[in-house]
């Protein structure tokens, strides 16, 4: 009889310390060995993980009120501007903001050694951060400037809220031009000198539940070393499939997540300030999502391995910057991880930009949390739109 489980049943097993939890990597080989029917009945939860640069990340902070009060009009944290067009002492520090005196790309390629992502990492590392703010003065908020030091423990709330994380799949980036280019996927050498990719493949959360049968608003996750939640789909959530004219189906791509969690319980090991030479500053975020094995189909999707997951190869010297929808074919994550692929007949060395060892560690950590009974599954109050929703990207005119 086909297996059917509910979130409640699995949570009862977790509470009783009886849940069978495996990482997505372990599941791939288990299903190859025992077959999906047997594994689906044995396994309750599959844990996934990813650890890569995710630019759409940042934190809402409430600094507390000074005496006398200030209605902050401009705010800087370690000289990096935060957005304070919200209430008096609230601000949002975004991962890609850089100091106002940063030389940027005026001496190309710029270094971008410090930015909002680094501020967030310094905060979670419990380092002192210099807070400067100015205000225009009101009757109820008369103060016009303040400069002080804060730590994460001194301020009221710190809520990591990342509007777009955990991309389902990503391009494999190459450079067809004759000079080195500096991209958000790293340094790409001329004439197909290398190829960079940025997905944990068989461990990557949204490749393991590609149709959003279990992930939705309220899914409890590993976020930055602490516990967080999926709160909505991410921005640019265009779930779709890589179907090619030759009849090949290269699987799912395009989905993203909005995630949120208490920054105070996170860790600098899993939120790392990141500098992409010639591109900018960002934050590398650790995310792990548990997938309940509610039935055999969910198990089958979660058991797809690197040899059956594919990335499109994209030229970042012309096609990507000019928003051309060309690609140079598809390549499997098994090939990408082997260290070389073939593009246009040429052998090209590959390198990842997201950390597979750290993704594995996240999946392993989440597995332990669940096994210990510390972490119950959050049943979504609403699932996210999947490929069937047919959401298409709008381009900006102008």
């Amino acid at each position: 009889m086909a297996v059917e489980k509910t979130f409640q049943e699995i949570n009862e097993r977790i509470k009783a310390g009886k849940a069978v939890v495996v990482t997505a990597e372990e599941l791939v080989s288990m299903v190859k060995e025992k077959g999906v029917t047997r594994v689906a009945s044995e396994v309750d939860v599959v844990t996934t993980g990813t650890f890569g640069p995710m630019c759409s990340s940042g934190a809402f902070l409430n600094f507390g009120h000074s005496r006398p009060r200030i209605k902050m009009h401009k705010v800087w944290l370690n000289n990096v501007a935060a957005y304070t067009g919200i209430a008096a002492v609230d601000a949002y520090i975004g991962a890609t903001e850089v100091p106002e005196d940063d030389p940027l790309n005026s001496q190309h390629p710029g270094k971008f050694r410090y930015g909002g992502g680094h501020v967030i990492q310094d905060l979670v590392a419990r380092k002192k951060v210099v807070l400067k703010a100015t205000g225009y003065g009101t009757d109820c908020y008369p103060r016009k400037e303040i400069e002080t030091e804060i730590t994460l423990d001194d301020i009221n709330e710190a809520i990591l809220f990342n509007p777009r994380n955990a991309y389902q799949n990503y391009n494999c980036a190459v450079n067809l031009s004759t000079k080195t280019i500096y991209t958000y996927l790293g340094v790409l050498k001329a004439n197909l000198g290398n190829a960079h990719y940025s997905t944990a493949g068989q461990l990557s959360p949204l490749l393991k539940d590609p149709q959003f049968r279990t992930i939705g608003v309220g899914t409890r996750i590993f976020l930055g070393g602490g516990i967080g939640y999926v709160v909505w789909n991410g921005t640019q959530h265009f779930p779709g499939r890589n179907l090619v004219e030759d009849g090949n189906d290269y699987g799912y791509a395009g989905a993203t997540l909005s995630v949120l969690g208490d920054l105070k319980q996170m860790s600098p090991r899993w939120l790392v300030g990141t500098s992409m030479i010639g591109y900018g500053a960002t934050l590398t975020v650790g995310i792990g999502i548990p997938i309940p094995v509610l039935n055999e189909d969910i198990c089958r999707f979660a058991a797809v391995g690197d040899d059956e997951l594919y990335a499109p190869i994209m030229d970042y010297s012309d096609d990507f910057p000019n928003l051309k929808s060309n690609n140079l074919g598809f390549v499997s994550y098994a090939e990408l991880k082997s260290g070389k692929i073939k593009v246009n007949g040429k052998e090209v060395p590959t390198a990842p930009v997201s950390s597979y060892p750290r993704a594995r560690e996240i999946a392993g950590t989440l597995k332990q949390w669940i096994q210990k009974g510390d972490f119950l599954l959050g049943e979504p109050v609403q699932l996210l739109p999947n490929a069937e929703a047919g959401i298409k990207a709008n381009a900006l005119k102008g």
């Binding site: 270094k111 500098s275 590398t284 390198a351 990842p352 750290r358």
Partner: protein, 133 residues
């Protein structure tokens, strides 16, 4: 006697010449070879410890031959606390000193193969590759 650390870079045309012998014989220098490598294109890299009164003249001799000489006052290290094993440096590194250990996918640094070109220092998104003097 003070010693000087230098990096020599040879083109393929010089790699087969006995230049170290000349430094010892003609310039009376004490040479300690710390690192030596000839790549498949027959270009050579060598790191030397040189001591002797005529060290500067010996270096001039190398330069006349077309050897590129740089003083080595630094080394590159991998800060293992900062490195997250992303791998973005591994295809930038020209000497194979930075590489991915498979199937684990951990990034390793073999300092013996490092030619101190600094490319990784610039390319590392975590700023984990550090210059030590």
């Amino acid at each position: 006697m003070s010693t000087k650390k230098v990096v020599l870079r040879f083109g393929a045309d010089i790699a087969d010449k006995p230049v170290i012998y000349k430094l010892v014989k003609d310039y009376d220098l004490v040479i300690n070879i710390l690192k030596a490598n000839v790549n498949p294109q027959k270009e050579g890299t060598m790191v030397l410890d040189i001591a002797g009164e005529k060290a500067d003249r010996g270096i001039d001799y190398l330069r006349q031959l077309g050897v590129r000489v740089q003083s080595l006052t630094e080394e590159i290290t991998q800060n293992e606390e900062k490195c997250v094993s992303c791998g973005a440096c591994t295809d930038i590194c020209p000497s194979g000193a930075l590489y991915i250990d498979r199937p684990d996918m951990t990034v390793r640094f073999d300092s013996d193969r490092c030619v101190i070109c600094h490319l990784c220092v610039k390319a590392c998104p975590m700023r984990a590759m550090e210059v030590r003097f």
